[in-house]
Symmetry: D2
Subunit: 301 residues, 4 copies
């Protein structure tokens, strides 16, 4: 019976890099968490411990920091493309590279109503994400860009119902025509190409996601998610696919009746666990092949 | 040798209550995490297991949810005052009550440039806090209100130096006249009385804290903190004391020189641990006695 | 241009169930966190909001709790198999079900040297995991079982080197022939079939993983991982594939020289971020098809 | 109106130090998280930014790492006493120092039934803690040592009731004569002096706490806590005071009746929030003055 090495990849995770632009008195800040992952001819490292083809994760780290200056971080997509291309083009054993980035938002502090030049507070609203995958050389070259966001906590206090569902022996839930609906949205979207106005597109997509969540009268979180994905694809030409993962953060109407207190959808207990988890992919019919666009760094386990 | 029960207190921690106001089509939301703590004649529960004087933590929970409707949550200070007074006034064995609240911010989703009536996203910037302590009855009655915030992450990319410090055998740090200074601020402040425009005062204090952090040319985080506390006391009449706790979230200038890349304060590694931790109390000379205003629910351990 | 619903799935995540066995005075405890996920004919819920084919996540929750009694939790694999089969066999629109479980360990408290009958402390060492995927009916029926563990923090203080690696312009790391090697291991393994002595096999595999980490003289974490996976496959007949994901939790030798203090591999700074991340799959050459065994509940985003 | 600086302190928090003893082939490991805090003549740093009396937190860090070798970490109490004494004795402006340490447990990996010489897994059961406070010089010198533990999760599946409690308008809880009782214990204890067999005493106290939790038939968590504290004081001569803080981690009996399934204390939902929180101090009548033994590093906010 033989035993073989199957899939494998390695890299440096979570380089927390802060890039300050200070060319004028009005500074700018980019705050990113960068993970790099290499795939290629690294079998010998696993099978015999031979490191001669291995670019150490420490070197990947140094490169990630240096590229924050060499290339800059105008957008995380652009920075990541450059970094991933470097690994595939300049490091021989590397067949494919994946760069995953989280970006944390900051907004300028107001002093007497004016934006301060060099002081910010973290916005904390959502984390912007991007993941670039680059494979092959020459005619075999493929490049995929995905953008995304996570931890976008959104809630509507009406305009959501849940009725008409299947029942069985274990059914306990009552149908409702008016409930709180809330989620902590994770969304990722795939671009058709590798050129776009990344920052503007991000802002557009975030705005479509939140306003669609607000305006769709929801018959189920499933329906809301599909409408959100569809709205993005209808509005943004360069995007071909949207993935949505949404925990249904349950808000239970609190029973105050025995205290003689009326509760018409006004007081809720926000529960932590368990939560519903709804996931959907919405895709253009003519989307090009996704290839390994969705193969994550943490994807093997 | 005798062994006695010393200090003791008990309560229900972290009731996550969401209060929706829906009297008009334009709803409002208050999202709070409430902890209640009772102090008083509860020795028997500890010494003999006799529960006859014990108001169960479950009952405290029910009351906290019911008060979100009965009293409402216009401000967390007002809500907490009512809840704490109820425990001291209406539950005989209770000599003192403490209510601690965290409030999470939400902002309206924009749809075509207009604020939506019933959909919000979590702002996530900082958590607002309040802690009310009420003791005694009749002439012995004392009431303290503290407000606060935590997790306010703030950073300035220049205007901060650190030089002229004491040196000894273990000194390795180099003085610097230009560094990134960042913290995740925790601030609490004590009000002189129990009446104020709580929400407006909160906004004022937050604004003073952030703008002072921005505008003070910092010789040390210590100095910045003192100036922040002083600015609050100078501007807000009803506040008599400010406590500040600030981790110095170190941003290390990344060495890119050996790669032939210049780094003039542009690329930093944001480190997690260890961090400096600077704490200060700033107080009016004529502040009334703090009594047990600062005795926390988790204070005994 | 058409827009379609692509992949989709939904379920209830993180039901925290504690099952006590109390048939004799010597009780037993099983502490599990259960997530259920359904795949099938649920397009209408997304496309039109029609819930008639949707088994609510609340019903999935009720079933998960009830099965803890109806079936019991002798092993998480057995419990999950029964639960997943129920969803596929008894709920018509369900084509496939996935059940993911985490199990937290407890050990009996010792009283005067003897194990107590009904009191335990959490061991906290590692979390045991399992994931069952069941697809189709009749001749199309497929069932996959994977077991695993996570958060197994393991460290060796010598017997690890890292030398002979590739160098480039960004190389800063020095080779070392003696270092601390530590990781927080995530391992998952796939069984050939759906019958095994699950608890005994788990204990065997954990023991092989830890003892192999200890005894292999490591030339790289890659090599150690491969040897760990290989050792499992060589020793355990019913297991056909092992996935390993290992953060390289860096321990940096602390420079004490300028203080006149020698540090021969004795004092380290344990850093949080960034960390290396090494992943590998080790597989039998005759392993049956993995099908959707590795398609996670959180897999779409 | 004057504004003054009140209490203040500063230091370096969370130095994660790993100390390996490798004098023989059988290595030993100590894994600690160290925070140091200085109190003294530091007003000028706050008031004018003058750092001349300030020992930088970076220097405190260097000292903490160096002392892991110079003094060693036979016990966290001994290590911390040395470090705190150094700051008070050797750094002139320091009037008082506090050192707080967390220690993470490791146990040897077994290889063929034998303990391995240099490989361990994290036990993860509880975190051991210590806090040393040292004040003054000469005749004014005071030294306090407290030990402790946290995150000790303990559960009993019977032998716990809760009845006879006070009722009011908001009472909803039903009394019970048999419930699951669980907590994640935080305990701290104060030693009379500064010499003890620290590691043996720690083991003794942990054992007393867990076995008392097991064997006391509980009428309330309050009663169990008092008995735990009392048992420690009765058994351990050098300890004069015990503080206990115990979240009541609620396990709710799950209603399976409507599914036709009996649930006699066998299936529970383990809830996250809210939780009861019970705190008590148990003290010898002849305990010496606690002074600032309990004034924490994070104590001002």
């Amino acid at each position: 019976m033989g035993i073989s090495l199957g899939g494998h990849q390695y890299g440096k995770a979570e380089n927390h890099i802060v890039r300050i632009y200070r060319d004028t008195p009005r500074h700018d800040i980019k705050d990113i968490n960068v993970s790099t992952c290499l795939r290629g001819d690294f079998e010998a490292a696993y099978l015999t411990g031979d490191q001669s083809a291995v670019l150490p994760t420490d070197t990947q780290k140094q490169t990630a920091y240096s590229y924050a200056k060499e290339v800059g971080v105008d957008s995380i997509e652009e920075y990541s493309l450059a970094l991933a291309r470097h690994f595939v083009d300049d490091v021989k054993p590397v067949h494919a590279a994946r760069v995953e980035v989280e970006e944390f938002g900051w907004e300028r502090v107001l002093v007497d109503g004016s934006e301060h030049d060099h002081t910010w507070v973290r916005t904390g609203q959502e984390v912007r994400t991007a993941a670039i995958t680059i494979e092959g050389e020459g005619a075999e070259r493929r490049e995929w860009v995905t953008g995304g966001l996570k931890d976008l906590v959104i809630l509507k206090s009406t305009g959501s119902e849940f009725t008409g569902f299947m029942e069985d022996k274990y059914t306990r839930l009552q149908p409702t025509t008016d409930r709180v609906m809330a989620t902590s949205l994770v969304a990722t979207w795939r671009y058709a190409g590798t050129e776009a106005d990344w920052n503007a597109t991000y802002a557009t997509i975030k705005s479509i996601l939140t306003s669609t969540f607000a305006t769709v009268h929801s018959l189920a979180l499933q329906q809301t998610l599909f409408e959100m994905g569809k709205a993005v694809l209808e509005a943004v030409d360069g995007v071909v696919e949207v993935n949505l993962s949404a925990p249904n953060k349950h808000h239970f109407l609190y029973d105050l009746e025995t205290f003689g207190v009326e509760n018409n959808g006004e007081v809720f207990h926000a529960d932590d666990r368990p939560y519903g988890l709804i996931q959907a992919n919405v895709v253009r019919d003519d989307a090009p092949d996704a290839g390994s666009a969705w193969e994550k760094f943490s994807g093997l386990v």
